[in-house]
Symmetry: D2
Subunit: 350 residues, 4 copies
C-alpha cells in the first residue's frame, strides 16, 4: 500500500482526497495535518467520514511526513513553498494542489498572488500535473504542480484545437462558471447560502489569478504546435459563480482559421484512450451533474450554423478532476498504478 500524507486537510480539497482515497485499493492515508484543528479526529469535522477515517489531525511534521510515499498539499497558496524542499529531500514525492508551483515566471506569480515566492529554485523541477498533456513527465516527477480547476477545463477544451493549429490565437474566449466549493471552506459573507443560492454573477471579469496559468499553458501548446519559439495567445477569461456546490462548466469560443477541419473527429482522435476525458457525440451538451464526484472531464464541440466559430463545452467536478481527483491520477501515474485506481466510481446522479 502506498502511504499518503495530506497537509492541510481541513478544506474541501483535503476532504475530497480523504473521500477518494478511502476506497483506493492501493493507497492509504497515514498522516493528515492541520495547524488549526490539531488533535481533532477528522470525523468530527466531516461526519461523512465517521467509521471510515479514524485519523486525527496532527501538526505538520517533516519527520512524520517523510515516512509517507506521497505527500499532498491541500493548503492555501504560500504554504507548500515553505515545506516542500524538506520533504523532497527525504525522497518523498510531493503533489501540490495549490498554486505555488504552477507558474514558471516568478514575477508573474508574485504579482498575481501578492507575495514573494518562497522557493523559486524548485519551480524548474515542478511538473504541471495535467496527465493528458504531460503523462510521461509526471511519471518521472518528484514534484507535481496540479493545475487549477478553471485551467484544467479551459486547457482540455482548447488542447485539440491548439495542437491542430486551426484557430486564431488572437481571439480566444473562455466563459467559465464554477460551483461555490471553489472558494474553499472559509467563513465569509460572500459564500453564504443567502448570498449565493438562487443567483448567478460574473466575478473578476477584469482579471483572475487563473488567467496567467491558462495563458502559459495555451502558449506552450501553441509553441509546441508551430515549432516556433514565440507565441502569444490572446485570451479573455470571465469566471462566474454558480449556485451549486461542485462543478465547472466552461464555454469556449474560438475562430477556425481552417474551415475544412472536422472538429468532432479532431477531439475524438486526440482523446481516444484517455481514461478521464469523454468526448460526447456531436450535438451534445454536457451537464455538470454528469461528473459530480467523478474524475471525468466531459466535452462537446459545436460549430453553430457550420460557421467559423467553434464552441467547446467542457464540464468537470472542480474538486475532483479540477483538484484532488487529478492529484490522485498523478499519484497513480507516479506510482505505476492503474491510472484509474480509486477513481472508477461513476458520478452521483441525481
Amino acid at each position: 500500500m502506498i502511504k499518503v500524507g495530506i497537509v492541510g486537510a481541513t478544506g474541501y480539497t483535503g476532504a475530497e482526497l480523504l473521500r477518494l482515497l478511502a476506497v483506493h485499493p492501493e493507497a492509504e492515508v497515514t498522516v493528515i495535518t492541520s495547524r488549526s484543528e490539531q488533535g481533532k479526529p477528522v470525523a468530527d469535522l466531516y461526519p461523512s467520514l465517521r467509521g471510515i477515517v479514524e485519523l486525527a489531525f496532527s501538526l505538520p511534521d517533516v519527520d512524520q511526513l517523510a515516512q509517507c510515499d506521497v505527500v499532498f498539499f491541500a493548503t492555501p497558496h504560500g504554504v507548500a513553498q515553505s515545506m516542500v524542499a524538506s520533504i523532497l529531500e527525504r525522497g518523498v514525492k510531493v503533489i501540490d494542489l495549490s498554486a505555488d508551483f504552477r507558474i514558471r515566471d516568478v514575477p508573474t506569480w508574485e504579482s498575481w498572488y501578492g507575495q514573494t515566492h518562497g522557493a523559486p529554485e524548485l519551480i524548474p523541477q515542478a511538473v504541471y500535473g495535467l496527465p493528458e498533456l504531460n503523462r510521461e513527465a509526471i511519471a518521472n516527477a518528484s514534484l507535481i504542480a496540479c493545475p487549477g480547476c478553471y485551467p484544467t477545463s479551459v486547457q482540455l477544451g482548447f488542447l485539440p484545437l491548439m495542437e491542430a493549429g486551426c484557430i486564431d490565437l488572437n481571439d480566444l474566449i473562455a466563459n467559465s462558471a464554477s460551483g461555490v466549493s471553489g472558494a474553499g471552506r472559509q467563513a465569509s459573507i460572500s459564500g453564504l447560502h443567502t448570498e449565493v443560492s438562487d443567483s448567478f454573477k460574473a466575478y473578476a471579469a477584469s482579471g483572475h489569478r487563473h488567467l496567467p496559468e491558462i495563458v502559459q499553458g495555451l502558449n506552450d501548446m501553441a509553441l509546441s504546435a508551430n515549432g516556433s519559439e514565440d507565441a502569444s495567445v490572446n485570451l479573455t477569461f470571465v469566471p462566474h459563480l454558480l449556485p451549486i456546490n461542485r462543478g465547472i462548466h466552461s464555454t469556449l469560443y474560438a475562430t477556425l482559421t481552417d474551415l475544412t477541419v472536422d472538429v468532432q473527429a479532431l477531439f475524438e482522435a486526440r482523446y481516444a484512450g484517455e481514461p478521464f476525458v469523454d468526448v460526447m457525440p456531436a450535438g451534445s451538451h454536457p451537464q455538470t451533474n454528469s461528473v459530480r464526484g467523478s474524475n471525468v472531464c466531459r466535452i462537446a464541440v459545436h460549430r453553430p450554423n457550420g460557421g467559423a466559430k467553434v464552441v467547446v463545452l467542457v464540464v468537470e467536478d472542480n474538486l475532483t478532476k479540477g483538484a484532488s481527483g487529478q492529484g490522485i491520477q498523478c499519484m497513480n501515474i507516479i506510482c505505476g498504478l492503474a491510472e484509474n485506481a480509486g477513481l472508477a466510481a461513476p458520478a452521483l446522479l441525481p
Copy 2:
C-alpha cells in the same frame, strides 16, 4: 382604472402579470382566461394569490375581452395570432408576450417556430416592445410584440455600443444563462428538480429561437447607426440553464474598433433617465438576485486589461423585465401612466 384581460394566465408569465397588477395603482385585472382550467379560481392554482385575486379562469371570449382596455397574451406561440385581429377590431390594445409578432420576416418566423403564421398581415403594425429603443412608437401602438427574455438582455447590453458604432459587427458573442422558469410551467422530465438543481449546462448551442430575434434587433441598430441600408451582424449566441427559478445573466463579448471610446461613460449617457436600466459603477458585477422580482435591468461594462475586448454583464428577471414587467411597462406607456406605475418595488433579497 385600466381594465386588463389576460389570455392564458395559467403559466408563469400569466402569474407574474397577476402578481404585478395586484398592486398596480391604476389598473385592475377583470378577465383571465384558460382553456384547461376553466372555472377554477386562480387562487386554487396559485395559493400565493389567495385573498388577493378573486377571479376564476374563463374560456377565452372576444366579447368579454372587448370590454377590457388592454389584453395581454401570455400564451404559447401560435395562439395570439389566431385571436388578436378580432380583439384589435374592437379597439382594444393588445400586448403579446409570446413570440408571434416579434420577427418581421415571416419565413424566418415559420422556420424557427415550425408552423405557418396565422396573421402575417398584422406583423407590420406590431411594435417591438422594448421601451429603451421604441418608446414613442409604443405610445402610439395598438399591438405590442414584447421582446423575448434573452433578446431583452442581449439587446440592452449591446445597444450603446451598436449606436456608437464602435465595435466589430462581425464577431459578437452572447453567452447567456437563464433560470428554469423560462421553460414555463409544463410537466416535463427535463425541468424536474432532480435534473436541474445542483447542475448547469448549455443548450441549443447550435441554434435557439431567440437568435433571429436578437439578430434582427442588432441589425436594426446597426442600420440606424450607420445610416446605410445594409448591415449584417454576426452573432454567436449560446444559452445555458441555471439551477435558479428567476433571472437571466448575459455575458456579452465584442471587439472595439475604436480604442479611445470610454465605454463606461457611453453606457451611462445612453441610459441616463431610463427608469429600468441601471448602469453600475465601473468594476461592478451585477448579480441576478439584485433584480429578482423587479423590472430593472442592471448592466456593468468591463475592458479586461484595457484591451480591445469589451465585456458587458447584464442581469434581468426573465419573468419581469424579460416578459410580464416589460409588458406592463409598455401598457403604462400606451395608457399615459407613469412608466413605473406598479413596477416600483425593489427586488426580493435574499
Copy 3:
C-alpha cells in the same frame, strides 16, 4: 408621511424593512444607522436598492433618531436595551425586532441570552407585537417587542386550539424548519452554501432560545382561556435548517381532549377578518413559497384518520411575518394606518 429610523440596518431584517418601506404609501425611511458601515450608501451594500434608497448609513445618534416618528431596532440582542430608553424619552415609538423585550422574566432572558439585561425596567411597558393576539395593546404602545420568527408561526398555529381549551397542554410538539436567512448576515462556515444547500438537519434539539418565548405565549393563552392563574404548557420544540433563504414551516402536533370539536371551523372563525392569516381549505398543505416576501401566515389543519391527534401546518416568511413585515404591521396599527399599508404585495412565485 411617517418618518422612520432603522438602527442596525445592515442585516437581513434591516434590508427587509428597507424593501418593504420603499413602497409604503405613508412612511419613509429618513435615518439608517450602522456602526460598521458608517458613511456607506445602503445601495452599495444592497445593489437591489440602487435607485430606490438614496440614504447612507450613519452612526446611531439619539438626536437624529428623535426626529423620527418610529424607530425600528434590527440589531442583535443586547443592543436595543442600551438605547431604547433615551429614544422613548423623546416621544418616539420604538419597534424592536430583536429579542430584548420579548421575555417578561428577566432571569429567564438572562439565562438563555447569556448576558445581564440592560433595561429590565422597560420590560413591563413592552407590548408583544403579535397583532392577532394583542391588537389593542399594540395600538397604544410606545415600545413593541416583535415576536421571533419561530414563535410567530407556532403561536398562530396553536392559538385557536389554546383559546378553545380543547387540547392536552401537557404534550405539545412544534417541529419547525427555517430558511437560512434566520441566521442573519454574518460570516460563518455553518451558513456557507456548501454546508447548507442540498442538505437538511435539526439543530438545538435540546433547547433553543425561542422555546421560552413560545412557552410564555402559550401559557398566557392557557391562562386566559381557563381563567385560572396557573398554567403549565409542556412543549417540545425542535427547529431544523432548510436549504432555502426565506420561509418557516411549522408542523404542530397536539392531542384533542374534546373529539367533537370541528377544528377547521374553529380556525376559520378565529382568523376571520385577520388581514394576514389565511386558513386554507381542509386537506390543504401550505407551501413556504406561497408566502415568500409576503406578510401572510398560511395555515392548514388536519386530523389524520379523524383521530385525536390534530396536526397544524403553518407557513410564513421568517423575514416578513416573522420579523420586519410584522414590525411594519405593528407600526401601521400604532400610527392608525390601514393595517396592510405597504404590505399588500403578493408573494413572489416562482
Copy 4:
C-alpha cells in the same frame, strides 16, 4: 461474479443500482430492461454512466433474466407481482425495491395502492429486507421485499426503543422530510424545479402509503418485545418535501414510560457492529449531506431538558439506504459476500 438483472432501470432507483454495482467487486449487471426505452444504451439516458455501463435496455424477458443470479425490480408498484413467480421458478433470487410484497395484509395493500394484488400467494415467502432486523431470514430468502425509504428511517429510529419496551406505544410521531428524488423520474408539474426549489411543504398529512408499512413493522417489534400476541401502535406520520435531490430526515417523538433508561447507551448497544447504522455522540444533529450517496443511516437521540420526551433524529439517503443500497446490502447477505461489498464509499461532501 454474481450476475445481476435489473427490471425497470430507467428510474432513479434503477440508476442508483447501476451506479453502485459499477464498482461492486463481486457483481456485474448483465441485463437491464425497460419497455419504454428498449434498445437505447443506458449511457444515452444517463450520461454519467458513459464509459462505465455499456449495456442497452432490453424488453423484459424471463429466459434472459433467468440467467442472472439475482434480479432487482426497480419498477412502479404492480409490476413485480406479475413477473416474480416465473423468475423465482427458475431458481433466481428476487429483490423487489417496489412496494409489492412489503405489506402482509392483502386488503390493506389493495386499499392503499388502489389495485388488486397480482400474486398474494407469494407474500408469505417474501422477507422484509431490513438487515438490522431480519439478517438471518434475508440470508435464506428467495424473495426480498425491500423497505420503503421513509419506513427504513422511521423503523431504524424507533427500533431500540421498541425492543426495550420503554416508550408509550399509543403516541408515536414521525415527522419526516424527503428529497424530491423519492417521487421518481416522471414528467410532472409538481416535481418541477420552479415548484420545489426554494420551498418546503408537508404532504399527505392525512395518510401516506408508507404508513401501513411502518405500522406493520412497529407492531411486529412491539409483539416481539412484549411476547404477547397483540399490539397496537398509534403512529402519526407526516411526510414533507425537501428542496434537495437525495436524503431523508426523520424526527421521531416518543414518550418514555421508563425515565431511568439511558437512551444513548440503548442505541449504541443495539447498533454496535451494524455496518450501516451510525449512532452519533450525544448532542449530535445528523445532516442529510453526511450520507449523500452512502448506505449509512446516521442517528442521534435527544431528551430535551432530560424530560420524558425522546427525540430521535435519523438521516439516510432515500436512494441508497432507503432503496438501492439496501437492496444491494440484502444481495450481499443472500450471496454470502461481505455485507459492505460495493457499499464502502463515503458520502459525497460537499
